[in-house]
Symmetry: D2
Subunit: 383 residues, 4 copies
Amino acid sequence: MKSLAVAIVVLALSLVTSAQNKPRARDLGIPFDGTPGPLNAITDVRGVEVGLATIVRGEGALKPGAGPVRTGITVIFPRGKESADPVFAAWFSQNGNGEMTGTTWIDEGGFMEGPVFITNTHSVGVVRDAAIAWSVKAGKMFQPWSLPVVAETYDGSLNDINGFHVKPEHVAQAIESAAAGRVAEGNVGGGTGMICYEFKCGTGTASRKLTAPQGAYTVGVLVQANHGRRGELRIAGAPVGQEMPVPAVARGGALPPSTEEQGSIIIIVATDAPLLPHQLERVARRATMGLARTGATSGNGSGDIFLAFSTANDGVAAAPREIHVNMLSNSRISALFSATVEATEEAIINALVGAETMTGVDGRKVEAIPHARVQELMKKYGR
Amino acid sequence: MKSLAVAIVVLALSLVTSAQNKPRARDLGIPFDGTPGPLNAITDVRGVEVGLATIVRGEGALKPGAGPVRTGITVIFPRGKESADPVFAAWFSQNGNGEMTGTTWIDEGGFMEGPVFITNTHSVGVVRDAAIAWSVKAGKMFQPWSLPVVAETYDGSLNDINGFHVKPEHVAQAIESAAAGRVAEGNVGGGTGMICYEFKCGTGTASRKLTAPQGAYTVGVLVQANHGRRGELRIAGAPVGQEMPVPAVARGGALPPSTEEQGSIIIIVATDAPLLPHQLERVARRATMGLARTGATSGNGSGDIFLAFSTANDGVAAAPREIHVNMLSNSRISALFSATVEATEEAIINALVGAETMTGVDGRKVEAIPHARVQELMKKYGR
Amino acid sequence: MKSLAVAIVVLALSLVTSAQNKPRARDLGIPFDGTPGPLNAITDVRGVEVGLATIVRGEGALKPGAGPVRTGITVIFPRGKESADPVFAAWFSQNGNGEMTGTTWIDEGGFMEGPVFITNTHSVGVVRDAAIAWSVKAGKMFQPWSLPVVAETYDGSLNDINGFHVKPEHVAQAIESAAAGRVAEGNVGGGTGMICYEFKCGTGTASRKLTAPQGAYTVGVLVQANHGRRGELRIAGAPVGQEMPVPAVARGGALPPSTEEQGSIIIIVATDAPLLPHQLERVARRATMGLARTGATSGNGSGDIFLAFSTANDGVAAAPREIHVNMLSNSRISALFSATVEATEEAIINALVGAETMTGVDGRKVEAIPHARVQELMKKYGR
Amino acid sequence: MKSLAVAIVVLALSLVTSAQNKPRARDLGIPFDGTPGPLNAITDVRGVEVGLATIVRGEGALKPGAGPVRTGITVIFPRGKESADPVFAAWFSQNGNGEMTGTTWIDEGGFMEGPVFITNTHSVGVVRDAAIAWSVKAGKMFQPWSLPVVAETYDGSLNDINGFHVKPEHVAQAIESAAAGRVAEGNVGGGTGMICYEFKCGTGTASRKLTAPQGAYTVGVLVQANHGRRGELRIAGAPVGQEMPVPAVARGGALPPSTEEQGSIIIIVATDAPLLPHQLERVARRATMGLARTGATSGNGSGDIFLAFSTANDGVAAAPREIHVNMLSNSRISALFSATVEATEEAIINALVGAETMTGVDGRKVEAIPHARVQELMKKYGR
């Protein structure tokens, strides 16, 4: 019965049809720099698989332990879930009021040995240990011990976060659902209960494809966006947030205007360019610049933590002695920096555009950004 | 029944009489620089409380999920377990093949908001989330979300680590047992299944008391020591490890000589000196030098991660606007650096001297360092 | 004769009348977020003094050692040039293809002990040692040794940089000229030969004044801007750079379009808010976000290095033992982050607007951004 | 006349016969772990060349600008002075009260583009700019601009440091003298006026050769040692410093006992193992552990800054696009860590043993460590 209940409440949405028909930021006519890959998603980087477990259950007053539940897990496998081959990786924290486990070993060794998970702040632990159990069972341990990478943002405005509703079986479900192809956006996976710029937000993705002279590399970005105050929001440079202020008097369960950053954003950057760890750290640092283009200033309460990995150089981590690795010249790296900035900007706007109005704990209602109004504002600002 | 079973297997050893009668390093005549505090323990820093949950159960062949179990949890409360007042803190990684959660927020905000836990590598997650649940329940959340500090070393040589035997109730038990006063050493708490320099090892502690002209501050150190190869071990500068090589042919369940570092060490440094976060980072970095005095070279497999906190400046974190904090002049800080090096060195040797021979999974037996032989070697090397 | 020649070519422009009559970005109607201080300059932070030495000499073909010379020095004294009292400081590198000396000691000790200088890349050494000589002579050494802070950007496109035309006497001149009050912008001081977004650029400044409920603190920013490719330039969010592409065929000595970032930006953030070193590092990191708002992506060739200091807490560094320092609560810091982002954005646009077309080595001519065209574009994009 | 005078006072000692006949630490019977290379010097790493300019002039009372002069420059070319091919490099600061220019670009790009210089604290600038001038003239610029690496320790106890006696011609001289082969130790090059553990100290070097199964790599270390208080000194683990306290009453120009760390140590680690930048940072961090074995605790006044580079992977930096680089598996790196610790320990003791009693400014006399007494103490402590 328990597993049936879980099956009912967990919706693995990665390939749900409806998700495919929602407009994305470009569909609203919002202009972005650069050229996206075919899916305009992190999965444009060959090998990358994304899995989602979305947990939505209950309504009404908050009863800790009972709900309502608006949360989930996102998992990203750099080389697909069948591979146990580590990738070169690096990370950066623009504002560290958050958690990403496993980063100390990434810094030291230069590799990420497994997938990266993103969930809610209070469920990092259960996901981490369940990831180890899965690795052991699946025979995917790279060392005798495992130091999984699990990041988070806070969904306590909509979700019974202190009810600890994420369970090991959701980790398994997210892993099982992992696939290449289109990635659902908005209220899905770890992004289920997220809010950005005081609109409903969540998971978003985008990609950039470099030209042949630039090396034809792909950069893919996935964000779990939960950050920002309304007045800061810029879309394609236009001061959209200032045009749509949060009503001073909250009505119908809406949240009042925020005086202080309460959110966070996790940004994952994937590329097939052959970058070494110290070069990936440079890429991770550019995520800040894409975030800044949407207006954010990374308030004190924000956990703005970014990870970059490269799917090139397979088989390197397990080499017994010396091994040849492929390295992109620093003289060619700038195009990857620009691509990261551009794809990050678009992934955030995709998270915003892809989200749908949600009512959560205590009937609290967070509105999605109105698409038509965004289109009007694009016109007003010449975009 | 279950809770009874747990009660039986969990031994909160922090005040057990037998622990107090074991010789410590100084009792063997080993010389150390500097002057310890009254307990020669981290609890010489006023306010610091240490709690332990030791989980020992079963014998014989490894049956994952069934045992044998040789593990535990150590918890350190900077201001005692009743306080929810954050402390200034900082951390440093000498070799990051390990985990210490919560460090990104420590770096950013400068505070550690709760206690620090140390457990086995694969139980970091359960301890982290249980720590949040405890904080919520106890009303000790500093922000709406919690980012607990949980560190680890690997006990899989003696313990059924993939059986995940650490449970939320052990976290509660460790917390409940937290107390000032003497600290048990050796096979207790998170240190239960640890091995250092290929001897049985575990939890160790020491302290230094500065002179009045130096400010009369106290520095206390607690280590969970699980690092090092035999030949490296130096005690009071003498090449003790080279005098006691690991037998090339392992007998009676003993481990064969290690060709490669497999271990780790977590070092926690407490002080009542009024140090700011950037000054505490300097202190944390000195733990490396105490570790080095015992011969370690921090091999690739080692998670050598250090945390320093100051119990001065209470009430600062919750200040609504500006607040006066007390700061020690940089011109007075060197004595604290020396004290940290000295107390770290002694805490490691205390962990070694305090441990007792243990037999764990598959009948594997790890010998404690023979005290009499150490005393002989001290004489041989003029110490 | 030599000193006369130097006197002629060195123009200390900090209070030159003409500088005061040039339009600044706001005068062109460009909108920015936030409220500036009275001067909209780094000198709005009480105590801060800025000095400039501008070295312009010769025309025509490059003869290394002879010229033409288009370079200079900018110096910023946090507490005025009469004070030898260190300030809390911190720094951050968004892309480290550049130099800022003295940062290792800032990281370690938390203080900047003297002023910060900015000059051209190949004159950092002469400025550094001359700064020491000045400190010794002026009796302003804080330790027996001195580790001056000297940053740079590259002016070799217009200046005979390998002629090493910056001399110790220019350091003295910059120091002597240091004053509170209005700060000259554009082709002055270290900014003399700078180019940003492929327009003539240079020195720029701006400030933000927080509201009384926010603490009434001031944040001031000074930039030496030498970065960016044309297509990236955004002013107030509008894609200005894309509207004014660099002609593919360079005419009349103009530079051809850049395919690769060649520049850099130094950003200095001053505040009177009582921030500790680890909090100032957070502020320095926000400079990236202001830079990003102008379109930059920090290419490989860029030295994007930022420094933040606080003029609060005077007399702290020399305290013999413990001392009370004032600290702003983290809960109040976000407004300072926003102010930093906003003032950085405006300082960069001020550097661009304040610069004038310059012809340098080999008759190379770099055009200033045409003000009228910017105003047209602001209208086109609804700003 | 001036150039003649300079020629007389600058002694390029790298191949002076007398230097070869001085005993080194091993010659006194001091035991060290590991196996050195043929020269037991950094030049055992193939390609490495070391140059020295030693400037000794004048006696008696300090007259700033006139002398006495006891200073110099050391330069290390990773691939020899004819090569302009950058090496992978990384650095670490154990205590940053010091300067090493160029490190921000090393962090970012992963390469050191030229040699590393070490001189006195107040001559870093002149050496830096002269190094650029030499690079320009010699056609060895890797980018259009140059960001030289120049480190320092303070020799103001013996040298007229504020007389700024290091001149561009000394940089040329050090470069010209650079050679493979034996390296002079003690009072030579940048080490001329240095003091460590309150004995005369200076330049020291050592190396380790790994076994064939370990990869047969070489690790070479060169130190400029100027750190430590007497009581801390440990040689081969024996408390040598405690046995030879500094007389409380200084006689005959001797320095009184130090109450506070005034010194610094620069440690350069070279290897031919194919390490990537993030792996070299790990190596640099191990220098701390070698330093700690000699007793140091890195006081507040110390600039303990370490650099590691690899001579493998030649031709990589200039690659136009992708290039294969050779990388050592992390699983093989621990032996290099141990070698670094061991060679650092020995290089420091070599600097101490190689130095000779020196009288400097104001007749101040610093004694060399008495070799016979060291040998007695080795016996006393069973070594």
